[in-house]
Point group: C2
Chain length 218, copies 2
């Protein structure tokens, strides 16, 4: 697994970034806040999404604000509705302020984070498109988050989430979640890099599902 | 998923069995007892292991007592040490007695169930060999249980168990469990049918692991 320092170093080859301390401060707050989440949405997930965001950022030709991409990736699950209460809404701004991020930059990052989620996009795709046109960084973080929901890691996360949240529900629900939601995520990719990476991971979901179905009908 | 009635019907083509009611009574007690377990060791697991035991029983040429095979498969996780306390030790005999299984048959089934587990075999492989020579049915139930621990279903069960039992431990532990234990199970198969079925499911574990490792080093 890539460390945050390695990710920042790779981005600095092409872009100017605030000092590492800003990112490390945000990462420490995120890790502390998400320690209460289960392993399907832990700080390892956040680091993978940040590393994937870096990969997409470096591969895309369109201009993006790299600081918005990386800080939004680090923060993207802090207000996840599956784990938090509405009163945690100000958490993002607090974490950014305590890392001395300027109010303007903070507002952009919060806007991106508030629009990453699949359910937010499903409820109002027009609104997501509008935010995307103002903050193209959103597309990178969405794609990275969705790439981590598919492939082998996505499979592991689906069953881990099921075990943690609904331990007495049949695993068949996790199997069906793959066909009902995960294989469709590649159609929602916003960047060309994300779309390409989603192709192979989606094939992995399909192969795994065919194994599962065969093993469950002996 | 095969129902218990379908499994019994398939076995009756070649073997004489006690009335369906005996198996249904045991199955109902097992389902009730295991409702407290998480989805990695639920009644669906029991049914898959019973169906796999049937498949191996029907494919093997060596003589086996089909009633011992099927009842031991149904009961094999009732005293699983990951979920039960030592005082649950008499549970097996109680369930069999309430299904009117004779004391002699019950003793054989309990002997098989008490020796299915991987950790029991690892602690004393000579003892397992001795029980196997007296009760070859043990080999069938062990192979069926281990087949359900590998392949796509084994992967799903590993992450589900991790999510349910240790929700705050990294998923990487589940990934490592595949290499450290699951890929080795095929070397412990007791029947030729089990060995053959384990081959493909072990390749699935290996392919999944290579996907995981690649996705975790972006």
């Amino acid at each position: 697994m890539a460390s945050l320092a390695t990710i920042l170093q790779a981005v600095r080859v092409r872009y100017t970034l605030p000092p590492d301390e800003v990112f490390q401060s945000v990462a420490a707050s995120v890790a502390e806040h998400m320690a209460a989440y289960d392993a399907s949405h832990d700080f390892h997930h956040v680091l993978r999404v940040t590393a994937l965001s870096k990969t997409i950022l470096m591969a895309e030709s369109q201009a993006h604000d790299p600081t918005v991409v990386l800080l939004a990736a680090l923060l993207h699950d802090v207000t996840d509705k599956k784990y938090t209460r509405p009163e945690d809404g100000s958490k993002l701004a607090e974490i950014l302020a305590s890392a001395s991020v300027s109010p303007d930059l903070s507002a952009s990052i919060v806007e991106v984070v508030n629009n990453v989620s699949y359910s937010t996009e499903m409820r109002n795709p027009d609104w997501t498109r509008q935010v995307l046109s103002q903050h193209p960084e959103l597309g990178i973080v969405q794609d990275a988050d969705r790439l981590d929901a598919i492939g082998a890691v996505g499979i592991g996360r689906t069953f881990t989430f099921g075990g943690a949240k609904t331990p007495h529900s049949s695993m068949q629900l996790s199997r069906e979640h793959i066909s009902e939601k995960l294989v469709k995520l590649k159609g929602l990719m916003k960047t060309e890099t994300g779309r390409q990476m989603a192709r192979e991971r989606t094939e992995r979901l399909q192969l795994f599902s065919s194994w599962w179905d065969e093993e469950c009908t002996p």
